[in-house]
């Protein structure tokens, strides 16, 4: 079975480009040109140079000895948190801004939930001197003030998405509507492996640098290119897509995607999309999504603003449905506990999203000589408010902001 995208833009039955005609010309232009552009030697050189000198890649593959001891196995952390702007998101925005320049686009739009992708987009726009407009749900603007300030300092305009539930899905809708209204001068930098083809494939390719580095780093550390297990959190799924990319066809590697269970899978307040979702269309892509019986898209919940997306990237839907990837879930509380544990025994404060990946260590049984890689997708600075609340009341967190 193939886990890559086919010529029509599908992963198995998922993916495609279910978009209004107004977007067709832009999406088709992108589909026809993205591979050609990103394979050009000049593009590769610029992309690699910026990842090295501006982003700070390669990121370390760190053998977390105390964490390994605690779980009686061999755990490596892929340190995407050490990237410039604090997460893996910038791998994609560097790639897309170079692509936008090649396409002759003068104006960039983006959506953001927690603000990490917004900051990463504002950063590359500042770097290239391009106009940047970031759509962000009004609710998210209120709860992610530091990232809003960062985007503004970087020269981006942050536009509140006032429609629907005023969170990530609505910010994405607003960005798509902006693109419909401004088809010729604008490029839309989507932040995850979601949206119409070719976005899921394009974003995965830009994020694939994560597993590309893992291969030679594991070779150095362990004398072999592959781990036994890779664990990554999944909202839309871009960090997982990057961490899985070069191992998709390698059956020796067990792929584990961790979704946010919020207050619990059956609580009515979770973002366990692959479990609770059904087939449908969201943001131009056929995938699994959380919706009512009448096909209205449901607002998910997680303490982590980066994981509360009602859909999941179409490739992940395919990996999960075909059994290639395994899905586990972590609640808010389990993620908070895992974040504290990593901080205390490894000296690393992870992002809340990443903490969900760490939280499943407790649920897995490892062999002593197994090699486990956890994609440490982001750092926790942006989540200090949630962590402070947790430290003051470690076991009694309630859903206060939802």
């Amino acid at each position: 079975m193939s886990y890559s995208v086919n010529e029509q833009g599908f992963y198995g039955e998922f993916g495609g480009a279910f978009i209004p005609e107004m977007l067709h010309a832009n999406i088709e232009h992108l589909s026809k040109n993205y591979l050609k552009i990103i394979r050009e030697a000049e593009f590769r050189e610029q992309f690699d140079a910026l990842l090295k000198d501006f982003v700070g890649r390669p990121t370390p593959l760190y053998h977390a000895k105390r964490l390994s001891q605690r779980y009686n196995t061999k755990i490596y952390l892929k340190r995407e948190d050490l990237n410039h702007t604090g997460a893996h998101k910038i791998n994609n925005t560097i790639g897309q801004i170079l692509l936008a320049r090649k396409l002759g686009k003068k104006r960039i739009i983006a959506e953001t939930g927690a603000g990490q992708h917004g900051v990463a987009t504002a950063t590359v726009c500042a770097l290239m001197g391009v106009q940047c407009i970031v759509y962000m749900g009004k609710t998210d603007i209120a709860r992610q003030a530091p990232n809003v300030a960062r985007m503004r300092m970087l020269g981006a305009e942050v536009r509140p998405a006032l429609s629907g539930s005023q969170t990530l899905k609505d910010a994405t809708n607003e960005a798509i509507r902006d693109w419909i209204n401004n088809p010729s001068d604008t490029h839309y930098i989507i932040g995850s492996v979601v949206g119409p083809h070719p976005y899921p494939d394009m974003v995965a390719r830009f994020q694939s640098v994560i597993s590309e580095e893992m291969r030679w780093q594991l070779q150095e550390h362990e004398g072999r290119e592959y781990p036994d297990i890779i664990i990554a959190c999944v909202g839309g799924g871009s960090n997982a897509a990057g961490a899985f990319y070069h191992y998709l066809e390698d059956d020796r590697v067990c792929l584990i995607a961790v979704e946010a269970a919020g207050l619990g899978i059956d609580s009515g307040a979770s973002a366990a999309t692959s479990l609770l979702g059904t087939k449908g269309i969201i943001h131009g892509s056929k995938t699994l999504l959380m919706q009512t019986e009448d096909g209205q898209i449901v607002e998910p919940y997680s303490i982590s603003a980066g994981l509360d997306y009602p859909g999941i990237g179409p490739q992940h839907a395919h990996l999960i449905q075909s059994g290639r990837a395994q899905v586990l879930h972590a609640t808010d509380q389990e993620a908070l506990d895992a974040a504290l544990e990593l901080a205390r025994i490894e000296g690393i404060i992870p992002a809340l999203e990443t903490a969900h990946a760490l939280a499943v260590l407790d649920k897995l049984e490892f062999k002593e000589d197994e090699i486990v890689v956890i994609n440490l997708s982001g750092r926790g600075d942006k989540d200090l408010a949630a962590y402070i609340e947790y430290l003051e009341n470690p076991s009694g967190r309630h859903k206060s902001d939802h």
Partner: protein, 256 residues
């Protein structure tokens, strides 16, 4: 015979298609709005199925959709309302909605139910022509439902020809690159695009929509196509104070 096809057989100019969101302003207004539009001589009614994430729509239709959902609108309620409206009128009725709604209902069940209650055709803006041909064309034809595809100023000639071939009711000519509900007079650039379409001698009738909100826009559309589609402006009129029937009469008297 299908009512949409019948309409275009007997009338080829000055066609007025009015769009509104089902279940808005009040849940039970749907039947009265259809009856009144029919009574006032509107040629075609386009009933919007309220959706949580209407990508192609501007603020007016977004808000009316949200309000309709808050009012409790569901597809089965809508089907019952259309069935009731059919007791009073023979006006062609088209459903406009998003592909996800159709998938979740079950595509075949959705189309069969629509046909059963008296719907004549569909507009599904995010259903690509390629998928329609692969998966649904036979079903539409068996049931005798029409489909209308959208074209825009950015649509290539080849694709316009494809939309012409596949559209079975009329072609929905999106007047400019935008979401619904924009204002402003029709520009020279838009007229050029309309002229380009006229010169193509398409087989299907054409209706121009998006940004048509007054008499002048309606007249321009009718000069270049078989008629016009008005949506957001009508919804705004429904949202004003007053009796529903008065608002409808007053709005239409300002159009033609």
């Amino acid at each position: 015979m299908n009512r949409v096809k019948h309409l275009f057989d007997k009338k080829d100019r000055d066609i007025l298609n009015v769009y509104f969101t089902a279940g808005h302003p009040q849940l039970d207004d749907t039947v009265d709005i259809i009856r009144q539009l029919s009574h006032e001589g509107v040629d075609l009614v386009e009933v919007g199925m309220p959706y949580s994430d209407p990508l192609a729509d501007g603020k007016t239709i977004q808000n009316s959709s949200q309000k309709a959902l808050e009012n409790g609108m569901k597809l089965d309620i809508l089907f019952a309302q259309i069935k009731e409206a059919r007791e009073y009128t023979n006006i062609p009725i088209i459903l406009m909605g998003y592909y996800n709604q159709m998938i979740q209902y079950g595509e075949a069940a959705f189309l069969e139910k629509a046909k059963e209650v008296g719907v004549d055709g569909m507009i599904i803006p995010d259903l690509p022509m390629e998928i329609y041909v692969q998966a649904y064309r036979n079903l539409f034809e068996e049931l005798g439902l029409t489909i209308s595809f959208l074209i825009t100023p950015e649509t290539s000639e080849e694709r316009i020809r494809q939309a012409d071939k596949l559209s079975s009711g009329f072609i929905y000519v999106v007047s400019k690159s935008s979401i619904t509900g924009t204002s402003g007079a029709i520009s020279g650039e838009q007229e050029e695009y309309f002229n380009r379409l006229e010169a193509m001698n398409l087989d299907s009738p054409t209706l121009i929509g998006f940004g048509i909100y007054d008499q002048s826009g309606y007249n321009t559309a009718c000069r270049h196509a078989n008629g016009a589609i008005i949506g957001s402006a009508f919804i705004r009129a429904l949202e004003s104070d007053g009796k529903l029937s008065d608002k409808i009469v007053s709005f239409l008297s300002g159009i033609r």
